[in-house]
């Protein structure tokens, strides 16, 4: 039996599923969307029930990645039951979606989540009357306390007992709705086809649904007492104070950064100690098994090397950032960042929450790319990852850059000025291409995170480390090694004239720019062995620090945004680096 869970954003949907199924979770990425759909399983009355989690949507017709994911799941999986998760504290608004779902002709089971919080607010909901009005079973539920679990199982067992389709069709008399992208001749203005043309404004059907939802909500809801003020809502009032709250949020973010960098720093030693012998064994094994030659030498070197980066940098990054993101999401703090940072971001034409991954990038860019999921849409995410890849120097890069700048007596102010200038110009240009959306955010009530929920979310974020990240990094590492070993880069020395004329630096310094792909902090070290003037060094360092993402960042970008976007970023990186070189060569006095 297949069940698809659908609900508005912020109704605590994943917490409900966690409560229902425990922590068995299977993650699958849905092609064409940036949104994952997770599947969980449970056994009811000896029968296996697959429950699909979906991203929160306000409408199944909405023209967003989330809406598309939900529609595709509905079409592909043909669920036996839709589990509609409704926030009891915002019944009226949630019922609009319920009304849409009712019209699909699929049996619904409505879980009135956060019923405990609703009671605390003094909201009393007559579930029996609600169930009568909707024609579908309604269960009061609390993911926090587990209330309603037994009733859910009982209802599901009853669904097994009677063949669901026959009984339900009598009750709901489906209207002519279709989720299919190509609809037949009937149309009431509620199909995907029609809502596509009018998705920027509300349709008559939308307004009808809203009205119906208001009527039902008013009918079944009684406001009892004033409601007691919860301890959490008192904290919330404090956090939602514009200035004080912003400082608090920044402090939490700082704690997160600190933990992450400390974790990477502390875990590197033990992980290395573990990996070095493993790497040596692999190297020995490869040398012994492969036929001797250039290729096997490279493989034997690149494979153990390729293991170090994912385990020492990417793994801790995915774990710690995953943990913090999960906690921020689960507590409801995450959207508060976008509110607090909105003004700052808008200076650069960015969404406010972009400040978080950008700041994180000064520590290490790999977790920052993971954290760019904080962005509201794909376009904004692309901007942030591009800025991270090209402009933001990570702490490792900064250290080496400082050393090289000192060694050549390069013009520090020029380099910093160039970085700021490129950041501002790039951010402005990119945000022109992907305009900021109108700022509309829901601020969910603060909640105490549920441990199993947090663990599941980390699992989701971490999935793909062994299947995608690790193999990809190994392959890329082998490829880069081969490129470097083949002597292809030596050709750049022959470009002396070109390099001198355009950038005012020797051809060998140009090699360093390309080595940034391999490891950014390695590139400046190539410069150390050359004899450069301050002017040459300044140009070369500026070109290196404003160029390409490092290998771990490249791998994360492929995983998070796809190869096509990575290619775009690399092209932009090269263009930036060359423009910086040419620009400085023109303006800096000889």
């Amino acid at each position: 039996m297949k069940v698809i869970a659908i609900g508005n954003p912020n109704v605590g949907k994943s917490a409900v599923l966690n409560r229902l199924t425990g922590s068995q979770i299977f993650v699958s990425n849905y092609a064409g969307t940036s949104v994952e759909a997770a599947r969980t399983r449970m056994i009811i009355a000896d029968r296996e029930v697959s429950i699909y989690d979906t991203p929160g949507v306000f409408s199944i017709f909405s023209n967003t990645d989330e809406g598309r994911t939900v529609r595709r799941l509905l079409e592909d999986e043909k669920p036996d039951i839709i589990l509609n998760i409704v926030d009891a504290t915002n019944l009226e608004r949630n019922l609009v979606l319920t009304d849409e779902l009712m019209a699909l002709g699929i049996p619904l089971l409505i879980l009135l989540n956060q019923i405990d919080m609703a009671r605390d607010l003094g909201i009393d909901i007559d579930t029996r009357l609600l169930s009568e009005r909707l024609g579908h079973p309604v269960i009061s539920f609390s993911a926090t306390s587990g209330e309603g679990y037994a009733e859910f199982i009982k209802t599901m067992e009853a669904k097994f007992a009677i063949p669901p389709r026959e009984t339900d069709q009598d009750i709901i008399k489906p209207r002519v709705y279709s989720i299919g992208e190509s609809n037949g001749q009937y149309c009431s203005g509620n199909c995907w086809n029609c809502s596509k043309q009018i998705n920027e404004c509300t349709s008559e059907a939308d307004l009808q649904r809203a009205q119906e939802a208001r009527i039902i909500s008013n009918l079944v809801t009684n406001m009892t007492n004033e409601g007691q003020r919860l301890k959490l809502s008192r904290i919330q009032t404090w956090i939602d104070k514009p200035i004080l709250g912003s400082f608090f949020l920044l402090f939490i973010a700082y704690l997160g950064f600190y933990t992450l960098l400390k974790f990477i720093q502390l875990s590197e030693g033990p992980i290395n100690a573990l990996l070095v012998p493993v790497g040596q064994t692999i190297e020995k094994f490869l040398v012994n098994t492969l036929p001797p030659g250039w290729f096997s030498e490279i493989i034997a070197q690149a494979v153990p090397e390729g293991l170090i980066i994912p385990f020492t940098i990417i793994m801790p990054a995915m774990l710690v950032v995953g943990l913090f993101m999960a906690i921020l999401e689960d507590t409801g703090l995450l959207p508060r960042y976008s509110v607090a940072l909105e003004r700052l971001g808008s200076v650069f034409g960015l969404s406010g929450q972009g400040i978080i991954p950008l700041a994180l990038g000064f520590g290490c860019r790999t977790p920052a790319i993971v954290a760019s999921r904080i962005m509201p849409n794909h376009g904004q995410r692309f901007i942030i990852v591009t800025l991270l890849s090209i402009v933001i120097p990570c702490s490792a890069t900064l250290g080496v850059l400082a050393a090289v700048i000192a060694a050549f007596n390069a013009y520090l102010a020029v380099i910093i000025g160039m970085m700021l200038l490129v950041f501002a110009v790039l951010a402005k240009l990119l945000s022109r291409m992907v305009p900021r959306e109108e700022f509309i955010y829901e601020l969910p009530p603060l909640r105490i995170p549920i441990t199993s929920n947090v663990i599941n979310k980390i699992k989701i974020r971490f999935s793909g480390f062994f299947t995608e990240v690790l193999p990809l990094l190994l392959v890329m590492n082998i490829a880069v090694r081969m490129l470097m070993d083949s002597g292809a880069l030596e050709y750049f020395k022959a470009m002396e004239g070109f390099s001198r004329a355009l950038f005012g630096i020797p051809g060998e310094a140009l090699i360093a720019v390309f080595i940034t792909i391999f490891q950014r902090y390695l590139a400046p070290l190539v410069l150390i062995n050359l004899s450069l003037t301050s002017r040459e060094a300044t140009i070369a360092i500026a070109m290196i620090s404003l160029s390409l993402p490092c290998l771990p960042a490249i791998v994360m970008t492929i995983r998070e945004l796809g190869l096509k976007n990575l290619v775009k970023i690399i092209m932009m990186g090269l263009a930036t680096s060359f423009s910086v070189g040419i620009f400085l060569n023109i303006i800096l006095p000889q």
């Binding site: 306000f58 409408s59 909405s62 504290t89 915002n90 009226e92 608004r93 607010l121 909201i123 998705n199 920027e200 404004c201 509300t202 939308d206 307004l207 809203a210 939602d240 104070k241 514009p242 200035i243 912003s246 959207p335 976008s338 509110v339 607090a340 909105e342 003004r343 109108e438 700022f439 509309i440 955010y441 829901e442 601020l443 969910p444 009530p445």
Partner: protein, 73 residues
């Protein structure tokens, strides 16, 4: 008057939403003609407004808030 003109703590009723751009998104979060709103806080430097819609809190940028025409209740 629009949402930008009201005082913190004031309760208002939505008359219309001007312009079509944000109408659907506002509708999704419950801001539509006839809805009752309360201004909770205003972020400094012309930052977003925090508004109570039903039992939910919503943040609106000033440019969107300008499109929401309201009357006092």
């Amino acid at each position: 008057m629009n949402m930008n003109d009201i005082k913190v703590g004031q309760k208002v009723k939505v008359l219309t939403i001007e312009g079509k751009g944000a109408e659907k998104k506002l509708f999704d979060i419950g801001i539509m003609t006839g809805a009752q709103l309360e201004l909770v806080s205003r972020h400094p430097f012309r930052g977003p407004l925090v508004i109570k819609v039903g039992n939910a809190k919503v943040a609106l940028g000033r440019s969107v808030a300008k499109q929401v025409r309201v009357e006092a209740i």
